[in-house]
Symmetry: C2
Subunit: 434 residues, 2 copies
């Protein structure tokens, strides 16, 4: 046993790092000193975390920089009253290493990991910005469809039963089983609280009071969200990022990086796919709230809808291509689909598999949308619309779309049906707006 | 670390036990000596294992007895060329302890477990016999429906997301993830080999040659079995027995004991349910082969069909009752189904859940049937029909039923539809019989 992993002893014993502590700690790591260059005393270090859970430091020397993320033993947004295990840094590190192998250049490079300190030092992403902020500014990202569809296809396919033996798959599931506290956050905040009275829920009052009440009383919706929750808990199809919204993606014109996989676990593929699609749908329906003059964002909005279609289309194309060429797992044994007829029948089944996956994605996209409007954690797509009534109008459109997607998922047979429904709601006016 | 768990050292280091070794070993255990009574030299010890995998010893003194099961490092039926991990004894012991708590008196009591020796000493079941043998003799078991439905309802419900928190559930899945070698046997022998050319396959030739070829070429069936295989690998709904055929059940007129859970893992509930139903359907369609005069087993066969209906009916009734009164898990949160309307809507969803479970059971029952006729491991229901043509006729009926159940599972909406289909085939004649 490594003594350094004993709490309270050794140089790496857990303690919350301040800037000065971090400087001393990093200065003790030769590889980091070499990477940064310059004298440790000259490094600039600042804590910049704006997420909900962790400390994030930017460290810069004259010639280089890095990002350091340290988990806190509680939820940063809430404080010590909501404890959260440090082990999430371990799972995040494991996921990052895995993703780097499967989707090179699409996640930040890990430079150093210290398990007892729950700390990871990573490549500094500069001049990347959080994609959500870019979308609010109507910035288009020409690489995004290509990159995110590669990330999804590679990470999901190669951790699925289509690529792994059942033994490898079970080992992977077991490796991430301990990350249950992070899964529990999702189970509560996405799949339960928005549909019941919960202290932490909030919404744009008074405009959405009636909608929030309706969601709390809609039993068909409660059955639908409960089925999705069960699917989330009991379908370890692949290693998920687990929190793949546009705030977990950093972008430039020419690069895309997926960050923050601390919610990683083996779950239903549709959850990651739905996270991307749902957050893009929210960006689309929030866009009207960021207009200064009517129609000024019209071509950006067209790009957003094309992007949504592209994410699914390219993901499906790449996933299917991998399935056709890299299917070394225990699922769908090739020996049962030999010859021309076998190949043709398997191809039909691949399409059917993708259709089932798409249904899951539609449902989860809806769940991710609803939680951002009626639950605890909102997003700036809507929050940065200063006019509360205008914000509520945009949110009401998203709620209407999401409710329909969740209840009628099987009727959305193509991604075009989803973007069509979103476009139809772009100018819809809720009762309170009339 | 316990030195006794090091291979090759200490008193419990693994070695294959002979009768004499076992006597010395048991004589060194005070609790066992007290349990058995008498002088160790006077104990009678005989190896009686007739299963496919392990050694089984019966140890008797003048006043008592016990059964000792030791795992071999290979498949007994095949020999050292097919290695199999000793760890299965660990998983079997964990499952037995779990089942004893959930279904008291329905599994053999564990008296002693030695992990390094891969050995478990258990209550001697006497005068119990293997149920499959009793069914061949047309013996009815009045306790069976009551007991097996209790076993299924209790073990499946209380290890599901309806009863456990998501964290407890993930821990359970991880605890059994290492039993993948036993799962792999199922994945290969049940879900793959019978549908392709495999050296170990056998069937009653020449009568079933055409049927075996048809099963190897039926691509719709290959899709159906592949979907079931994927469900088996990726649906950890509950802790399964994993091998719940009528050879894993010991019975008397008044008692039922489920034995041999070494295939235990978290999987789809329908797999255990389908195992029981499928094996009873085989007993039913094998029954004609054990007639000496036509119709002499008619009332036994009626009892068998009633038993099949009773197994599902009572299981569903008990499972639903547990769900209504003991639902402390994270699935279907009660707070989403409050008031009279909520309770009514949840009850509708419970019925829908059971319908989905039944579909799974129908599919898995079919898979369990087909593997016993076209795969490696056959069962004595059919094997003990000495007249090969008569045996093949019975097997052909079972294959026809199973094929239809697998391809048309959704059309079997009730257990009555299953027993009706079986009854319709009871006198059906395949081409080769005409």
């Amino acid at each position: 046993m490594n003594l350094q992993s004993q709490p309270g002893s050794g140089p790496s014993a857990y303690r919350i790092l301040r800037e000065a502590d971090l400087r001393d700690y990093l200065a003790s790591l030769p590889a980091i000193v070499a990477q940064l260059g310059g004298a440790p005393a000259d490094w600039s270090i600042s804590e910049v975390g704006d997420g909900n859970l962790n400390l994030v430091f930017i460290v810069k020397s004259g010639s280089g920089g890095l990002a350091v993320k340290q988990a806190l033993p509680y939820v940063r947004l809430v404080g010590e009253s909501w404890p959260l295990p440090l082990s999430r840094a371990h799972y995040e590190h494991m996921a990052l290493v895995h993703q780097a192998r499967l989707a090179p250049m699409l996640v930040p490079a890990v430079l150093h990991h210290d398990a007892p300190l729950a700390l990871t030092a990573m490549e500094l992403l500069e001049p990347h910005i959080i994609m959500r902020k870019g979308l609010i500014e109507a910035t288009r990202y020409p690489r995004f469809v290509e990159d995110i569809s590669t990330f999804l296809a590679q990470t999901l396919f190669f951790t699925s039963d289509l690529a792994l033996s059942a033994a490898e798959k079970k080992q992977g599931i077991a490796d991430f089983a301990g990350n249950h506290a992070l899964c529990k956050i999702t189970e509560d905040l996405i799949f339960t609280d928005p549909y019941r009275i919960a202290e932490q829920n909030r919404w744009t009052a008074p405009y959405l009071d009636a909608a929030a009440a309706a969601f709390r009383e809609d039993l068909d919706l409660h059955v639908a969200i409960s089925r999705l929750k069960l699917k989330f808990m009991v379908s370890p199809q692949a290693l998920l990022h687990g929190d793949l919204h546009t705030g977990s993606i950093m972008v430039t014109d020419s690069e895309t990086r997926v960050i923050d996989p601390e919610f990683a676990f083996y779950g239903p593929m549709g959850f990651d796919i739905g996270a991307v699609i749902g957050n893009l749908l929210m960006a689309y329906l929030a866009s009207a709230g960021h207009e200064r003059t009517e129609g000024e964002r019209a071509s950006f909005e067209v790009w957003l809808l094309e992007t949504i279609e592209g994410v699914w289309g390219e993901f499906a194309r790449k996933f299917l291509a991998l399935w056709r060429s890299e299917a070394n797992g225990d699922g769908y044994p090739p020996s049962l689909f030999t010859g021309e007829a076998g190949a043709a029948r398997l191809e039909v089944e691949r399409q059917a598999y993708m259709a089932r996956l798409f249904q899951d994605g539609v449902g989860f996209a809806a769940a991710k949308t609803i939680r951002r409007i009626l639950g605890l954690a909102h997003n700036i797509d809507f929050e940065w619309i200063a006019d509360e009534k205008q914000r509520a109008i945009c949110e009401a459109r998203a709620l209407k779309l999401a409710r329909n997607m969740m209840l009628e998922a099987p009727s959305y047979t193509t991604i075009g049906a989803v973007t069509y429904a979103a476009r139809e709601l772009r100018h819809w006016q809720p009762d309170f707006a009339r």
